[in-house]
Structure formats: C-alpha cells, structure tokens
C-alpha cells in the first residue's frame, strides 16, 4: 500500500485516536443555494470524475432526476416549490454528503477502517473494508450513504478526496457555471458566506444565513440559504441534525458496559476454576450411573 497522502483524524470501529503528526488545512465546500439554477452540471461532473453511470430513470413530474441519491449518483439536485411570504419560490438544493466534523456514519460503522475522516475534514468510505451492513445509512443524520446492489458496499460523495489530495478542487466545484459552488479552506468559505449573506439581506432576504449545523460539530459542505430560519423548505434539510441517540447509546455507553460484562464473565470463569477446579465427575456418581444403566438393560 502506498504511503498515506492525508493523515487520518478518525477511523470507524477504532477506539484509539489516530495520531496526527501533520497538520493539513481544513477544507470546505460552500453551496450558495441562491445562485443555483439547477442545471445539474455538478451531477454530470461527479459521475464523469468518479466513473459512475446511473441507470436512466423515469420522470416523476419534477426535475428531480434521479429521484434520490443512489450508489451511482452521489449528488442530486432537489427541486422544491414552496409558498413563502415572498410568493411562490423555487428552491433548488444540491444534496449529497455534508462531510460532518462529527460523522454519524463513522460512529455507527462496525468495520475497522471502512470509514475514515482525514485531517482536512473529508469523510471517506473505503469499500475494501466495508462489510455492507448499512449501519452508516442509519447513522447518517442527512440520509446520504447508499448500498450498491452490485457489490453490497456503501458509497457516497468523497468530496473528490483523490483530487483534493493532489491539490485540486472537487469536480462539482470546478464545473459549476454559475459559481454557486465554491471551495477553499473552511475559514475562507465562512468569509465568502458572510459576504453572500450580507448581499442577500440587502436584497430583502432578511433571514438569509449560513447552514453549518453545530449538532454534528459543523460540516465541511455548507449552504448559504435565503431562508436559513426554515431549512426544511429546502426539500427537508434538517433544522438541527444530530447523530441518532440509538447510535450514540450503542456506540457510547453500551460498548464499555458490554466489555465490562465480557470481562466479568471471563473473570468469574477464572475464579470458578481456581476455587472449584474442573467440573469432574466423582467415582461414586459414575458407579451409580453404571448401575442404573445395567438395571435398564
């Protein structure tokens, strides 16, 4: 295996923290929803770069195509027609992995090294370690990962980790013709978002704001929303995403408790062996059994 190009900050099913000798800048992708025209160039560029080709679907009466994320479509445009105080609005959101600082998928994953978080913030799936259990799908607060029917492994947006590792921007960012998607350090993206939010407020979107939810420790894919007070308008973007309590419980308190249980059982066994010794059958009992058997005959 080649040397790592990026240090690993977190690793699934691994309780020891990964040591981080190198510091890499935190990267982020900023999606300015107010600038998106829904052309889907990002969807095409994603498929081209990652060598994916989804099946041709059918029309469900909206522009959503494909209708949902799949193992071959790591990003989809979601079109929502909503009535707001400004009248009918067409809100188009590019959906895909949010690259959480505290990833629910990674926390839920039971397979060591199948999900890693690099030191630059990218959350990546490693299919060679994936066991296809689907816990990441349950653990994700944004319902993003999908299991492939071909190889039963989980797939999602990698934030083009292979491009970012060599200093390039993700394919969707490069292709975007309206400049709605931008990429840079998380700090720079925060600054860019502030500028855009100020511009939107000036134009009458008083509730404009940045979507960088604290419930998952912030995300490395952020949105500028014109209605930041109601993220649900954007095809059900969760207002306050957090890792499900089931996952937190199972991977939090349950794990050490179960370990303590296993240890106690082993210790109990040892004590029993030391104090009582092996469970031998005494000669008297053996003689009794022999007698009974003879009696039956």
């Amino acid at each position: 295996m080649a040397l790592q190009s990026l240090d690993i900050a977190k690793r699934s099913a691994t309780s020891t923290e990964s040591p981080q000798a190198r510091k890499t800048p935190q990267v982020a992708k900023l999606i300015d929803v107010s600038q998106c025209i829904g052309c889907k160039a990002c969807q095409v560029a994603c498929m081209q770069w990652n060598d994916l080709r989804d099946e041709v679907g059918n029309c469900a009466g909206t522009y959503d195509n494909p209708r949902d994320l799949t193992d071959q479509s790591w990003t989809v445009m979601r079109y929502a027609e909503v009535e707001t105080e400004r009248g009918l609005e067409w809100l188009i959101r590019k959906d895909g992995c949010m690259h959480c600082e505290d990833p629910g998928c990674l926390k839920a994953c039971p397979s060591p090294g199948a999900i890693v978080k690099y030191s630059n913030g990218i959350v990546d799936f490693h299919q060679e370690n994936c066991i296809g259990c689907g816990y990441c799908v349950t653990g994700c607060p944004f319902n993003v990962p999908r299991i492939s029917k071909k190889d039963s492994k989980a797939y999602k947006c990698t934030l083009c980790s292979d491009r970012v590792a060599v200093g390039l921007e993700p394919a969707c960012v490069k292709v975007c013709p309206t400049g709605c998607i931008s990429f840079g350090t998380k700090e720079d993206m925060h600054e860019r978002a502030e500028e855009r939010v100020a511009e939107l407020k000036e134009r009458g979107f008083t509730n404009a704001g940045l979507y960088d939810p604290a419930g998952v420790g912030g995300t490395h894919v952020m949105y500028v929303l014109h209605h930041a007070d109601k993220p649900g308008l954007y095809s059900g973007l969760p207002a306050d995403p957090a890792i499900s309590p089931t996952v937190s419980l199972w991977k939090g308190i349950t794990k050490p408790l179960a370990m303590a249980g296993i240890a106690a059982a082993a210790l109990g066994g040892l004590f029993h062996y030391v104090m009582k010794g092996p469970n031998d059958v005494s000669k008297e009992i053996e003689a009794e059994v022999d007698k009974e058997l003879e009696g039956e005959k």
Partner: protein
Amino acid sequence: MQVSRRGFFKVCAAGMSGSSLVAMGFAPTAALAEVRTFKLARTTETRNTCPYCSVGCGIIMYSLGDGAKNVHASIMHIEGDPDHPVNRGTLCPKGAGLLDFVHSKNRLKYPEVREPGSKEWKRITWDEAFSRIANLLKEDRDVNFVARNDDGVTVNRWLTTGFLAASASSNESGYITHKVVRSLGMLAFDNQARV
C-alpha cells in the same frame, strides 16, 4: 462435520477473544487508508473547444498514454479549461458529459448521404462529400442566381439555397464563412447557436 464438546468450546473461546480484541481497538489490519489514485497523473492533455453551443467553452481532453509509438490514445476524461477566458474551467451539464458524447455508439464519424428518394444512409468519403456539395451548390446557383431584379437594379442574390454554419467556430473561421457565403449571394444564412 463432527465437532467434539472440547472443540466447540475452543472455537467459542477463540471467537470471543478475537472479537473482544477487535472491540477493544486492537484491529488486525494496519491503520492505513489511501485515497483513490489520481487518475490523470500521466495522461496526455489536449486543449479543445466544446462542440456544443456558440459560447465555445475551452476544454481539456485527457487521453490514455504519453503519445508513445505503440500506444493507441483514447480520451478517458474531459474537463473545463481553467485558463480559457470564456468559461475558466466551468462547463454546462452537456459539456461536462462530453466523454460519453465522444465514445457514443451513435456518434457520426464520417460523411454519409441519403439521396433523394432513398431510405438508406450511404457512407461516402470526405472528397466525395465536398465534390457533391460543391457540384449541387453550383448547379443550383447557375440556374437560380438573380443578378438584377425586375427593375434592372443589380441585386446579386441567390435565394434557393441556405447555409447553416457551425456554432463553435473561432472568429477567423466565422469571418471566412461569412465572406464565402455572402460573396456567393446567399441570403438565408444562420448559425446553429445552440443545441
């Protein structure tokens, strides 16, 4: 398979200790992970213009191999050209999907003709195509060219043939096309500005 009582306990103990070790973080695999290898590292880059609309976005085509004698180059990826002043690396969804257009089974790779009354497309050579077009243009122009109108005013017009030019032409080829078409007297002249 026969498993003895003793064997069964052994297997159970081994399984439990193994899974406990993993659960405690002593995973048997090395803590390494590598991103997917960058697929364009040694490809040949060729600049071109997107063939779709008249915006004329710059593209870079990445092809297999380094141009060595025995390599049959094949385009394996296409991206916007970040140094091109028109699009600065961006592309529309059609431009972004150019790779599939290049490798499409339906792509037209040579001139074909469907003659009047025929149902079949027939493959012809470029020379045949050029000669055929030139001959048909000349035949039509010889018959229908109008040098003067009914009042005797010189008009030099040719109304029976039209010309549809390409969209992604450079300024220079656009200028030459215009000169050629207008100097023939052709009036119906348009360009395919969008697809």
